[in-house]
Protein backbone atom coordinates (compact mmCIF):
# COMPACT_ATOMS: atom_id res chain seq x y z
CA UNK A 1 0.00 0.00 0.00
CA UNK A 2 2.83 2.31 0.84
CA UNK A 3 4.07 2.08 -2.72
CA UNK A 4 0.86 3.64 -3.93
CA UNK A 5 1.39 6.92 -2.09
CA UNK A 6 4.08 8.90 -3.83
CA UNK A 7 5.94 11.28 -1.53
CA UNK A 8 7.88 12.94 -4.33
CA UNK A 9 6.29 13.72 -7.69
CA UNK A 10 7.78 13.77 -11.19
CA UNK A 11 8.87 17.39 -10.77
CA UNK A 12 10.86 16.39 -7.70
CA UNK A 13 8.51 18.19 -5.33
CA UNK A 14 7.22 16.75 -2.07
CA UNK A 15 3.63 16.28 -0.91
CA UNK A 16 3.50 19.78 0.58
CA UNK A 17 5.13 21.31 -2.49
CA UNK A 18 8.61 21.69 -1.02
CA UNK A 19 11.89 20.88 -2.74
CA UNK A 20 13.88 18.04 -1.13
CA UNK A 21 16.22 20.50 0.61
CA UNK A 22 13.61 23.04 1.62
CA UNK A 23 12.54 23.84 5.18
CA UNK A 24 8.98 24.52 6.21
CA UNK A 25 8.34 28.19 7.07
CA UNK A 26 9.65 28.96 10.56
CA UNK A 27 8.61 31.82 12.82
CA UNK A 28 10.35 32.39 16.17
CA UNK A 29 9.33 34.89 18.81
CA UNK A 30 11.16 35.47 22.10
CA UNK A 31 9.72 36.65 25.40
CA UNK A 32 6.07 35.69 24.97
CA UNK A 33 5.26 34.79 28.59
CA UNK A 34 5.15 37.31 31.44
CA UNK A 35 5.51 34.92 34.34
CA UNK A 36 8.42 32.83 33.08
CA UNK A 37 12.03 34.02 33.40
CA UNK A 38 12.45 33.38 29.69
CA UNK A 39 10.21 32.11 26.93
CA UNK A 40 9.91 31.55 23.22
CA UNK A 41 7.23 30.60 20.73
CA UNK A 42 7.98 28.71 17.53
CA UNK A 43 5.77 28.05 14.57
CA UNK A 44 7.41 25.52 12.31
CA UNK A 45 5.12 24.59 9.45
CA UNK A 46 2.03 23.41 11.30
CA UNK A 47 3.93 22.78 14.53
CA UNK A 48 3.21 25.25 17.31
CA UNK A 49 5.53 25.09 20.29
CA UNK A 50 5.93 27.24 23.36
CA UNK A 51 8.92 26.98 25.69
CA UNK A 52 9.28 28.48 29.15
CA UNK A 53 12.43 28.68 31.27
CA UNK A 54 12.60 29.19 35.03
CA UNK A 55 15.80 29.61 36.94
CA UNK A 56 18.50 29.27 37.96
CA UNK A 57 16.53 28.41 41.06
CA UNK A 58 16.72 26.09 44.04
CA UNK A 59 16.69 22.41 43.11
CA UNK A 60 13.56 20.50 43.98
CA UNK A 61 13.91 17.71 45.19
CA UNK A 62 17.07 18.64 47.07
CA UNK A 63 18.98 15.39 46.50
CA UNK A 64 19.25 16.14 42.77
CA UNK A 65 21.41 19.20 43.33
CA UNK A 66 25.01 19.21 42.18
CA UNK A 67 27.47 21.26 44.20
CA UNK A 68 29.65 21.83 41.13
CA UNK A 69 27.12 22.95 38.55
CA UNK A 70 23.52 23.69 37.72
CA UNK A 71 21.29 20.87 36.57
CA UNK A 72 19.05 21.24 33.54
CA UNK A 73 15.59 19.73 33.85
CA UNK A 74 13.37 19.61 30.80
CA UNK A 75 9.70 18.75 30.68
CA UNK A 76 8.44 18.05 27.16
CA UNK A 77 4.69 17.80 27.02
CA UNK A 78 2.26 17.37 24.17
CA UNK A 79 -1.08 19.04 24.74
CA UNK A 80 -4.01 16.66 24.64
CA UNK A 81 -5.34 18.52 21.59
CA UNK A 82 -2.04 18.69 19.71
CA UNK A 83 -2.52 15.72 17.41
CA UNK A 84 -5.20 14.20 15.20
CA UNK A 85 -6.37 12.00 18.04
CA UNK A 86 -6.59 13.10 21.64
CA UNK A 87 -3.30 12.40 23.40
CA UNK A 88 -3.67 10.99 26.88
CA UNK A 89 -2.23 13.66 29.20
CA UNK A 90 0.77 12.94 31.36
CA UNK A 91 4.28 11.68 30.78
CA UNK A 92 4.78 8.69 28.54
CA UNK A 93 7.77 6.78 27.22
CA UNK A 94 8.25 9.10 24.26
CA UNK A 95 7.90 12.36 26.26
CA UNK A 96 10.37 11.10 28.86
CA UNK A 97 12.89 10.31 26.14
CA UNK A 98 12.53 13.70 24.44
CA UNK A 99 12.80 15.51 27.78
CA UNK A 100 16.04 13.67 28.48
CA UNK A 101 17.71 14.25 25.10
CA UNK A 102 16.68 17.93 25.10
CA UNK A 103 18.12 18.42 28.59
CA UNK A 104 21.37 16.81 27.51
CA UNK A 105 21.59 18.99 24.40
CA UNK A 106 21.02 22.15 26.45
CA UNK A 107 23.45 21.06 29.17
CA UNK A 108 26.18 21.11 26.54
CA UNK A 109 25.74 24.80 25.81
CA UNK A 110 24.63 26.32 29.13
CA UNK A 111 27.53 27.45 31.31
CA UNK A 112 26.22 25.39 34.21
CA UNK A 113 29.33 25.78 36.36
CA UNK A 114 28.40 29.42 37.02
CA UNK A 115 25.36 28.37 39.06
CA UNK A 116 26.28 25.50 41.37
CA UNK A 117 23.46 23.90 43.37
CA UNK A 118 20.70 25.31 41.18
CA UNK A 119 18.27 24.00 38.65
CA UNK A 120 17.34 25.43 35.27
CA UNK A 121 13.85 24.23 34.47
CA UNK A 122 12.65 24.18 30.89
CA UNK A 123 9.06 23.44 29.95
CA UNK A 124 8.28 22.63 26.33
CA UNK A 125 4.62 22.60 25.46
CA UNK A 126 3.55 21.26 22.08
CA UNK A 127 0.33 23.03 21.16
CA UNK A 128 0.08 21.60 17.66
CA UNK A 129 2.12 18.68 16.40
CA UNK A 130 2.94 18.00 12.77
CA UNK A 131 6.20 15.99 12.81
CA UNK A 132 9.51 17.37 14.02
CA UNK A 133 8.34 18.57 17.42
CA UNK A 134 11.51 17.53 19.23
CA UNK A 135 13.53 19.77 16.89
CA UNK A 136 11.03 22.62 17.16
CA UNK A 137 10.96 22.15 20.94
CA UNK A 138 14.74 22.32 21.29
CA UNK A 139 14.92 25.32 18.95
CA UNK A 140 12.33 27.12 21.09
CA UNK A 141 13.93 26.02 24.37
CA UNK A 142 17.35 27.40 23.48
CA UNK A 143 15.88 30.80 22.56
CA UNK A 144 13.94 30.76 25.84
CA UNK A 145 17.13 29.98 27.80
CA UNK A 146 18.90 32.93 26.16
CA UNK A 147 15.84 35.10 26.83
CA UNK A 148 16.06 34.18 30.52
CA UNK A 149 19.56 35.68 30.59
CA UNK A 150 21.20 32.36 31.34
CA UNK A 151 24.83 32.32 30.11
CA UNK A 152 25.35 29.89 27.26
CA UNK A 153 27.97 29.09 24.62
CA UNK A 154 25.60 29.43 21.72
CA UNK A 155 21.99 29.02 20.69
CA UNK A 156 21.14 25.48 19.61
CA UNK A 157 19.26 25.16 16.35
CA UNK A 158 17.82 21.77 15.57
CA UNK A 159 16.43 20.22 12.42
CA UNK A 160 15.66 16.79 11.03
CA UNK A 161 16.53 15.20 7.72
CA UNK A 162 15.21 11.89 6.45
CA UNK A 163 14.45 9.66 3.55
CA UNK A 164 11.27 9.46 1.57
CA UNK A 165 10.71 7.69 -1.75
CA UNK A 166 14.37 6.64 -1.73
CA UNK A 167 15.46 10.24 -1.66
CA UNK A 168 17.13 12.21 1.13
CA UNK A 169 14.88 15.06 2.21
CA UNK A 170 15.19 17.90 4.71
CA UNK A 171 12.76 18.66 7.54
CA UNK A 172 10.58 15.57 7.36
CA UNK A 173 6.86 16.34 7.26
CA UNK A 174 4.01 14.42 8.85
CA UNK A 175 3.24 12.07 5.96
CA UNK A 176 6.92 11.53 5.18
CA UNK A 177 7.51 10.71 8.83
CA UNK A 178 4.66 8.21 8.95
CA UNK A 179 5.29 6.32 5.71
CA UNK A 180 8.81 7.46 4.82
CA UNK A 181 11.94 5.38 5.28
CA UNK A 182 14.02 7.33 7.80
CA UNK A 183 14.09 10.29 10.18
CA UNK A 184 17.30 11.85 11.48
CA UNK A 185 16.91 14.69 14.00
CA UNK A 186 20.07 16.73 14.51
CA UNK A 187 20.97 19.57 16.87
CA UNK A 188 24.11 21.48 15.99
CA UNK A 189 26.08 24.18 17.78
CA UNK A 190 27.33 26.53 15.04
CA UNK A 191 29.85 28.23 17.35
CA UNK A 192 31.79 25.06 18.12
CA UNK A 193 30.67 22.74 15.33
CA UNK A 194 29.47 20.20 17.88
CA UNK A 195 26.49 17.94 17.35
CA UNK A 196 24.52 17.82 20.60
CA UNK A 197 21.64 15.66 19.43
CA UNK A 198 21.60 12.91 16.83
CA UNK A 199 19.01 10.19 16.57
CA UNK A 200 18.00 7.93 13.74
CA UNK A 201 14.77 6.14 13.10
CA UNK A 202 14.63 3.90 10.00
CA UNK A 203 17.29 2.84 7.56
CA UNK A 204 19.88 4.89 5.70
CA UNK A 205 22.96 3.77 3.81
CA UNK A 206 26.22 5.31 4.89
CA UNK A 207 26.19 7.73 1.94
CA UNK A 208 22.60 8.70 2.58
CA UNK A 209 23.40 9.25 6.24
CA UNK A 210 26.28 11.57 5.38
CA UNK A 211 24.10 13.49 2.96
CA UNK A 212 21.20 13.77 5.41
CA UNK A 213 23.48 14.88 8.23
CA UNK A 214 25.10 17.59 6.13
CA UNK A 215 21.72 18.75 4.91
CA UNK A 216 20.44 19.01 8.49
CA UNK A 217 23.55 20.88 9.64
CA UNK A 218 23.21 23.43 6.83
CA UNK A 219 19.55 23.92 7.76
CA UNK A 220 20.56 24.37 11.42
CA UNK A 221 22.74 27.30 10.37
CA UNK A 222 19.72 28.97 8.72
CA UNK A 223 17.57 28.34 11.79
CA UNK A 224 20.34 29.75 13.97
CA UNK A 225 20.05 33.06 12.12
CA UNK A 226 16.30 33.09 12.78
CA UNK A 227 16.92 32.43 16.48
CA UNK A 228 19.36 35.34 16.69
CA UNK A 229 16.89 37.55 14.85
CA UNK A 230 14.11 36.61 17.27
CA UNK A 231 16.20 37.61 20.30
CA UNK A 232 17.34 40.84 18.69
CA UNK A 233 13.88 41.96 17.60
CA UNK A 234 12.62 41.47 21.15
CA UNK A 235 14.47 44.63 22.10
CA UNK A 236 14.34 46.76 18.96
CA UNK A 237 11.16 48.23 17.45
CA UNK A 238 12.43 48.82 13.93
CA UNK A 239 12.70 45.09 13.31
CA UNK A 240 9.12 44.50 14.43
CA UNK A 241 7.88 45.33 10.91
CA UNK A 242 8.54 41.79 9.80
CA UNK A 243 11.80 41.39 7.93
CA UNK A 244 12.52 38.45 10.23
CA UNK A 245 12.79 36.12 7.29
Amino acid sequence: MNEKIRLINDDGLRVDGRKPDELRPIKIEAGVLDNADGSAYVEWGNNKVIAAVYGPREVQPKYLQNSAKAIVQVNYNMAAFSGDDRIRPGPNRRATEISKITAEALENVILTNQFPRTSIDVFIEILEADAGTRCAGLTAASVAVADAGIPMIDLVPSCAAGKADDQVVLDVGKLEDNIGQADLPVAYVPRTGEIVLLQMDGHLTRDEFEKALNMAIEACKDIHALQQEALKSRYSPQKEGGDAE
Partner: protein, 278 residues
Protein backbone atom coordinates in the same frame (compact mmCIF):
# COMPACT_ATOMS: atom_id res chain seq x y z
CA UNK B 1 -2.02 36.58 19.47
CA UNK B 2 1.26 35.99 21.23
CA UNK B 3 3.20 39.20 21.49
CA UNK B 4 6.54 39.98 23.07
CA UNK B 5 6.51 41.72 26.42
CA UNK B 6 8.09 44.91 25.17
CA UNK B 7 7.15 45.77 21.63
CA UNK B 8 8.47 49.26 21.07
CA UNK B 9 11.60 49.53 23.08
CA UNK B 10 14.91 51.13 22.29
CA UNK B 11 18.19 49.68 23.38
CA UNK B 12 20.13 51.25 26.15
CA UNK B 13 23.72 51.04 27.15
CA UNK B 14 23.57 49.73 30.67
CA UNK B 15 26.10 50.46 33.33
CA UNK B 16 26.81 48.96 36.70
CA UNK B 17 25.99 50.55 39.99
CA UNK B 18 29.52 50.26 41.27
CA UNK B 19 31.05 51.88 38.22
CA UNK B 20 29.47 55.10 37.05
CA UNK B 21 32.07 55.72 34.38
CA UNK B 22 30.95 56.34 30.85
CA UNK B 23 32.82 55.96 27.60
CA UNK B 24 35.25 58.83 27.18
CA UNK B 25 33.23 60.61 24.53
CA UNK B 26 29.89 60.25 26.29
CA UNK B 27 30.03 63.74 27.67
CA UNK B 28 31.03 65.25 24.34
CA UNK B 29 27.44 65.64 23.25
CA UNK B 30 25.98 68.12 25.64
CA UNK B 31 22.35 67.10 25.51
CA UNK B 32 21.28 67.46 29.11
CA UNK B 33 21.22 65.03 31.98
CA UNK B 34 19.30 62.23 30.35
CA UNK B 35 21.60 59.36 29.56
CA UNK B 36 19.45 58.09 26.71
CA UNK B 37 20.05 61.13 24.55
CA UNK B 38 23.76 60.63 24.86
CA UNK B 39 23.59 56.95 24.18
CA UNK B 40 21.58 57.45 21.02
CA UNK B 41 24.41 59.49 19.55
CA UNK B 42 26.78 56.59 20.05
CA UNK B 43 24.83 54.45 17.60
CA UNK B 44 27.98 53.02 16.06
CA UNK B 45 29.51 51.93 19.32
CA UNK B 46 26.36 50.35 20.67
CA UNK B 47 26.23 46.70 19.78
CA UNK B 48 23.49 44.31 20.74
CA UNK B 49 24.58 40.69 20.90
CA UNK B 50 23.07 37.29 21.60
CA UNK B 51 24.88 34.25 23.05
CA UNK B 52 27.56 32.84 20.78
CA UNK B 53 28.42 36.02 18.91
CA UNK B 54 32.09 36.90 18.60
CA UNK B 55 32.77 40.21 20.30
CA UNK B 56 36.51 40.48 20.68
CA UNK B 57 39.94 39.00 20.08
CA UNK B 58 42.92 38.40 22.32
CA UNK B 59 43.42 42.14 22.87
CA UNK B 60 40.51 42.11 25.32
CA UNK B 61 40.02 40.10 28.44
CA UNK B 62 36.78 38.24 28.93
CA UNK B 63 34.53 40.05 31.43
CA UNK B 64 30.95 39.72 32.60
CA UNK B 65 28.51 37.96 30.28
CA UNK B 66 31.25 36.61 28.04
CA UNK B 67 33.47 33.57 27.67
CA UNK B 68 36.83 33.00 26.02
CA UNK B 69 37.53 30.20 23.54
CA UNK B 70 40.46 29.73 21.16
CA UNK B 71 41.90 33.17 21.89
CA UNK B 72 38.65 34.95 21.11
CA UNK B 73 35.90 36.38 23.28
CA UNK B 74 32.24 35.49 22.73
CA UNK B 75 29.02 36.72 24.28
CA UNK B 76 27.33 34.30 26.67
CA UNK B 77 24.32 36.49 27.37
CA UNK B 78 21.90 38.72 25.51
CA UNK B 79 22.78 42.38 25.93
CA UNK B 80 24.96 45.34 25.01
CA UNK B 81 28.73 45.14 24.56
CA UNK B 82 30.93 47.49 26.53
CA UNK B 83 34.66 47.67 27.03
CA UNK B 84 36.06 48.88 30.32
CA UNK B 85 39.69 48.85 31.47
CA UNK B 86 40.74 46.08 29.10
CA UNK B 87 37.76 43.86 29.86
CA UNK B 88 35.02 43.27 27.35
CA UNK B 89 31.61 42.80 28.95
CA UNK B 90 28.06 42.13 27.90
CA UNK B 91 25.58 44.13 29.94
CA UNK B 92 22.65 41.74 30.18
CA UNK B 93 18.95 42.59 30.01
CA UNK B 94 17.67 39.60 31.95
CA UNK B 95 18.83 37.05 34.44
CA UNK B 96 18.82 36.20 38.10
CA UNK B 97 20.64 38.26 40.69
CA UNK B 98 23.85 36.61 41.82
CA UNK B 99 25.23 38.14 45.02
CA UNK B 100 28.75 39.46 45.07
CA UNK B 101 30.80 40.36 48.07
CA UNK B 102 30.15 43.95 49.15
CA UNK B 103 26.72 44.29 47.50
CA UNK B 104 24.16 46.15 49.57
CA UNK B 105 20.88 44.30 49.42
CA UNK B 106 17.44 44.38 50.99
CA UNK B 107 16.25 41.06 52.40
CA UNK B 108 13.27 39.58 54.16
CA UNK B 109 13.73 37.28 57.17
CA UNK B 110 12.36 33.86 56.21
CA UNK B 111 13.42 31.64 59.11
CA UNK B 112 15.00 31.91 62.52
CA UNK B 113 17.72 29.68 63.94
CA UNK B 114 19.11 29.78 67.49
CA UNK B 115 22.11 31.77 66.36
CA UNK B 116 21.20 33.07 62.94
CA UNK B 117 18.47 34.09 60.51
CA UNK B 118 17.79 32.90 57.00
CA UNK B 119 17.18 35.81 54.70
CA UNK B 120 15.50 35.93 51.32
CA UNK B 121 17.49 38.28 49.09
CA UNK B 122 15.80 37.23 45.81
CA UNK B 123 18.61 35.07 44.52
CA UNK B 124 18.86 31.32 43.88
CA UNK B 125 20.91 30.72 47.02
CA UNK B 126 20.27 30.62 50.75
CA UNK B 127 21.64 33.57 52.60
CA UNK B 128 22.31 33.67 56.29
CA UNK B 129 22.69 36.45 58.81
CA UNK B 130 24.64 35.26 61.84
CA UNK B 131 24.02 36.77 65.28
CA UNK B 132 27.65 37.89 65.43
CA UNK B 133 27.13 40.00 62.30
CA UNK B 134 24.62 42.26 64.03
CA UNK B 135 25.23 45.29 66.22
CA UNK B 136 23.46 43.57 69.12
CA UNK B 137 24.71 41.21 71.81
CA UNK B 138 22.41 38.22 71.38
CA UNK B 139 22.17 35.25 73.72
CA UNK B 140 21.85 31.80 72.22
CA UNK B 141 18.24 31.16 71.18
CA UNK B 142 17.16 34.78 71.59
CA UNK B 143 17.45 35.73 67.92
CA UNK B 144 13.65 36.03 67.62
CA UNK B 145 13.63 38.99 69.98
CA UNK B 146 15.64 41.05 67.54
CA UNK B 147 14.39 40.08 64.09
CA UNK B 148 11.18 38.22 63.36
CA UNK B 149 10.07 36.30 60.29
CA UNK B 150 8.84 38.88 57.78
CA UNK B 151 11.09 41.67 59.00
CA UNK B 152 13.00 43.54 56.31
CA UNK B 153 16.69 44.36 56.66
CA UNK B 154 19.13 46.50 54.79
CA UNK B 155 22.24 44.33 54.70
CA UNK B 156 25.55 43.89 52.99
CA UNK B 157 26.94 40.70 51.46
CA UNK B 158 29.79 39.84 53.78
CA UNK B 159 31.11 36.65 52.27
CA UNK B 160 30.24 34.00 49.68
CA UNK B 161 31.94 30.62 49.70
CA UNK B 162 32.69 28.37 46.75
CA UNK B 163 29.35 26.59 46.90
CA UNK B 164 27.61 29.96 47.01
CA UNK B 165 26.49 30.07 50.62
CA UNK B 166 25.84 33.74 51.23
CA UNK B 167 26.65 35.42 54.52
CA UNK B 168 25.20 38.83 55.27
CA UNK B 169 26.10 41.52 57.76
CA UNK B 170 24.18 44.43 59.29
CA UNK B 171 27.10 45.57 61.40
CA UNK B 172 28.28 48.44 59.27
CA UNK B 173 27.10 52.03 59.45
CA UNK B 174 23.70 52.57 57.87
CA UNK B 175 22.76 48.88 57.78
CA UNK B 176 19.75 48.05 59.89
CA UNK B 177 16.28 46.66 60.24
CA UNK B 178 13.78 48.62 58.15
CA UNK B 179 10.84 49.08 60.49
CA UNK B 180 8.40 51.14 58.42
CA UNK B 181 7.60 51.76 54.79
CA UNK B 182 7.04 49.39 51.90
CA UNK B 183 9.12 47.04 49.82
CA UNK B 184 8.79 46.38 46.11
CA UNK B 185 10.84 44.33 43.73
CA UNK B 186 12.15 45.02 40.23
CA UNK B 187 14.47 43.00 38.01
CA UNK B 188 18.03 43.52 39.26
CA UNK B 189 19.15 44.43 35.73
CA UNK B 190 16.94 47.53 35.99
CA UNK B 191 18.54 48.86 39.18
CA UNK B 192 20.90 51.20 37.24
CA UNK B 193 17.89 52.73 35.49
CA UNK B 194 16.04 53.34 38.76
CA UNK B 195 19.13 55.10 40.10
CA UNK B 196 19.79 56.99 36.87
CA UNK B 197 23.03 58.52 35.72
CA UNK B 198 24.89 59.77 38.75
CA UNK B 199 21.72 59.23 40.79
CA UNK B 200 19.57 61.58 38.69
CA UNK B 201 16.49 59.35 38.62
CA UNK B 202 16.54 58.45 42.29
CA UNK B 203 16.95 62.06 43.33
CA UNK B 204 13.91 63.05 41.24
CA UNK B 205 11.93 60.26 42.88
CA UNK B 206 12.97 61.32 46.37
CA UNK B 207 12.45 64.99 45.71
CA UNK B 208 9.03 64.77 44.08
CA UNK B 209 7.50 62.18 46.38
CA UNK B 210 9.08 63.21 49.66
CA UNK B 211 9.98 59.60 50.36
CA UNK B 212 13.05 57.87 51.64
CA UNK B 213 14.14 55.28 49.10
CA UNK B 214 16.80 52.57 49.33
CA UNK B 215 17.63 50.41 46.34
CA UNK B 216 19.24 47.07 47.00
CA UNK B 217 21.50 45.68 44.29
CA UNK B 218 19.25 42.62 44.27
CA UNK B 219 16.44 44.75 42.85
CA UNK B 220 14.48 45.08 46.09
CA UNK B 221 13.47 48.67 46.74
CA UNK B 222 12.39 50.09 50.09
CA UNK B 223 10.21 53.21 50.16
CA UNK B 224 9.16 55.09 53.28
CA UNK B 225 7.17 58.28 53.68
CA UNK B 226 3.61 59.55 53.33
CA UNK B 227 1.17 57.02 51.85
CA UNK B 228 0.50 59.21 48.80
CA UNK B 229 4.21 59.58 48.20
CA UNK B 230 4.80 55.84 48.48
CA UNK B 231 2.01 55.14 46.00
CA UNK B 232 3.41 57.71 43.56
CA UNK B 233 6.96 56.38 43.89
CA UNK B 234 5.77 52.80 43.42
CA UNK B 235 3.94 53.73 40.23
CA UNK B 236 6.96 55.62 38.95
CA UNK B 237 9.30 52.70 39.64
CA UNK B 238 6.91 50.34 37.88
CA UNK B 239 7.03 52.63 34.85
CA UNK B 240 10.83 52.64 34.94
CA UNK B 241 10.86 48.87 35.22
CA UNK B 242 8.42 48.43 32.35
CA UNK B 243 10.04 50.98 30.04
CA UNK B 244 13.65 50.35 31.06
CA UNK B 245 14.84 50.23 27.45
CA UNK B 246 13.00 53.34 26.32
CA UNK B 247 14.42 56.72 25.59
CA UNK B 248 13.92 59.83 27.70
CA UNK B 249 12.92 57.94 30.81
CA UNK B 250 13.98 60.69 33.21
CA UNK B 251 11.69 63.16 31.43
CA UNK B 252 8.82 60.68 31.44
CA UNK B 253 9.17 60.24 35.18
CA UNK B 254 9.58 63.96 35.78
CA UNK B 255 6.36 64.51 33.85
CA UNK B 256 4.58 61.68 35.65
CA UNK B 257 5.46 62.95 39.09
CA UNK B 258 4.66 66.56 38.25
CA UNK B 259 6.26 69.56 39.88
CA UNK B 260 4.67 69.08 43.28
CA UNK B 261 7.09 68.76 46.11
CA UNK B 262 5.18 67.70 49.17
CA UNK B 263 8.20 67.66 51.44
CA UNK B 264 11.72 68.84 51.76
CA UNK B 265 13.14 65.37 52.18
CA UNK B 266 16.66 66.36 53.09
CA UNK B 267 15.55 68.21 56.21
CA UNK B 268 12.80 65.97 57.44
CA UNK B 269 14.15 62.55 56.62
CA UNK B 270 17.90 62.17 56.72
CA UNK B 271 19.12 59.29 54.55
CA UNK B 272 21.56 57.28 56.56
CA UNK B 273 22.28 54.64 53.93
CA UNK B 274 22.40 56.83 50.89
CA UNK B 275 26.10 56.45 50.32
CA UNK B 276 25.76 52.69 50.38
CA UNK B 277 23.33 52.61 47.51
CA UNK B 278 24.89 55.08 45.18
Amino acid sequence: MLRPKCSNNVLFLGYTVSDNKWPANAGRHNLGSDIMSQIDIQENERRFVVPGEEIGDSSHRSGMGTYARDGKVFASQTGIVNIRSGYINVQNFAGKYLPRQGDSVIGVIRDIGPNSWFVDISCPYNSMLHASETPWKIDYGMTGQYLQVGDVILAKVNHIDEIKNVNLTIKEHGLRKLSSGQVLEVDYTKVPRVIGKGGSMISILKERTGCKIFIGQNGVIWIDGELDGIAKATQAINIISRDAQKQGLTDTIREFLGATESHEPDEELPDAGDDLIE
